[in-house]
Amino acid sequence: MKNSKIVLIFALILGLGIFLSACGSSANNKDTDTSANEKENASGTEGEVTDFSIAMVTDQGGVDDKSFNQSAWEGLQEFGEENGLSKGNGINYAQSTGQADFMPNITRLVRDKYDVILATGFLLKEDIQKAAEQFPESNFVIVDETVDAPNAASVAFAEHQGSFLVGVAAAMKSETGKLGFVGGIDSPLIAKFEAGFVAGAKSVNPDITVDVQYAEHFSDPAKGKLIASNMYDNGVDVIYHAAGGTGNGVFNQAKDIKQNDPDRQVWVIGVDRDQHEEGQIGENNVTLTSMVKRVDVAAKEVANLAKNGEFPGGETLEFGIEENGIAITTSNEEAMTEDIIQAVDEWQEKILNGEVEVPKTREELKTFEESL
């Protein structure tokens, strides 16, 4: 009796093992088949666009974070449309749910023979650095950080400039004289947003106060909502978030307030993408404006360069207001009044002609504030 049960268990395990390994081998065959096909294609149609491929690895925000990663993916999709590529066929993405996934995702894409691997977010720096050294044949791009390798390009944005401009808009819009800033993870990058925003707001009104808080997470909307709720309760009426998915919680809170009391003035400033849609609640929209970081422009630009054999390995590409890499949106026509747009344009002019040097760090911000 006892023996027969043990036999049964072994049979079950063995059965599962055989089943799974059978699946495994058949898929391997498929893989090798397709890669063989790809090779044929590659040799047959040399020089044509089809043999170029690019894939991205997201950080933990995921490809639908309505922000940074999504923007990069939109850039790749646009590039794909122009060159007849589609997801799984020339362009692709691998999502990471945490730090542990970065390296396996990168390696997977390397082994799937993507020509260029784009990593969105400074969290991936170490892994891209390592991968660039391990796989000298592949090309890597990292956004928001710099990686030092001949086969890796770095993309940097002048976020402080854009943040300065939304700071100007926020200060003009605020009635209470209190602004809020919700950051993702306290880091040099997000501090750049913070410094620019505070500087912009204080340039318009030196007495304005900015409540700065960090959620310590890029994909925790609940935390974002909690922070926003505290801020709005304390009289803050405009919140600028630089917190990826966490920022969705800020939008939720603002929309909740707006729904309960449509006359109350609460605003959110979006980041990375035009987050106008996120702020829509009934007939109202709580999105004042968005600091758009055109990750899509950068992703497309890099993809085009690489496709034409001009991959900027070892270089850092800068995208600022001048390069169309940074912009601020005016989708909310009711909220962004003529005066605000005019003021923003004036300050933009001042940044472009060098009259204003926007601070990038908290130290620079301090000197900036003293000079006001």
Partner: protein, 349 residues
Amino acid sequence: MANNKRLITILIPIISVLLGLIAGAIIMLASGYNPIAGYTALWNGAFGDSYTIGETIRRTTPYILTGLSIAFAFRTGLFNIGAEGQVIVGWLAAIWVGLAVDAPMIIHLPLAILASIAAGALWAFVPGILKAKLGVHEVIVTIMMNYIALFSANEIIRKVLTDGGTTTESIPATASLASPWLQSITFYSRMHYGILIALFAAVIMWFIIERTTLGYELKAVGYNQHASKYAGMNVSKNIVLTMVIAGAFAGLAGAMEGLGTYGTISVMSGNINIGFDGIAVALLGANNPLGVVFAAFLFGALKEGAGEMPTGAGVPTELVDIIIALIIFFVASSYIIRWALLRFKKGEK
């Protein structure tokens, strides 16, 4: 009878896993994905070639240790939800020693590992002593300790280990568990010697529980505190000791990540989940060291293979999480079923 019981203990986890996989397949079918393609991708992602096997083993290593940590505490009737925090402090301590000390490998590496064990043990000592002396429930304290660990570690990384940065420097080779040889045979996977330490830890746990007076006392306290006290055992001492040993295992898991996989510590945005997954591992492994090793391996394979499912079969990552959750669900409910069964049998007598 005893054999029968043992058989049930082995059968239940296996059945749960099968049920979880089948339920996952049904969900994939219902959502319009091909379950065979999905599981094929899962298999390839975990065991497809030497690289993925290496990565699977790497991912398994800390799971074994956190699983042991929780299983060990369970044996004494304690629920160590704090493995998460203990992993973080262990990781931090290992990296700190790795960066601060300059010594030859034979001293440096053991020192860094010991630091992680000490940190994890210390982190578990607090809830242990509170439970033993004041009767504060260990679940509450360990959960709180998780947050203290997370945010203190982040602050230390920012203010002490780096100058406002988010990731520390890499530790020198003298403190690293990473092995160029293991990496070279597994296509640059991050497999490291930690797996040997983890397996050794499983043997240690088995030895303590099954072959020492201490283990006997710990189990006795787990079965019935009052009876143990009446029999002359020092219950408070045993509770503290259990937590300390459990914490040491979890701290060691942190060293695996720090000294083996990453060689650095980064500012963590929320939970790293190695500790929480350890709870499921311990459940699935029926709190038995050997069971934990197998369960950890299954979890490592599932988590590693999951990465391949979106690119390999177009199955979205969210579905992968559902499948993993389902398996945990069946494991957890099997635990309830077994508990109910035992109750039922007791009633019969």
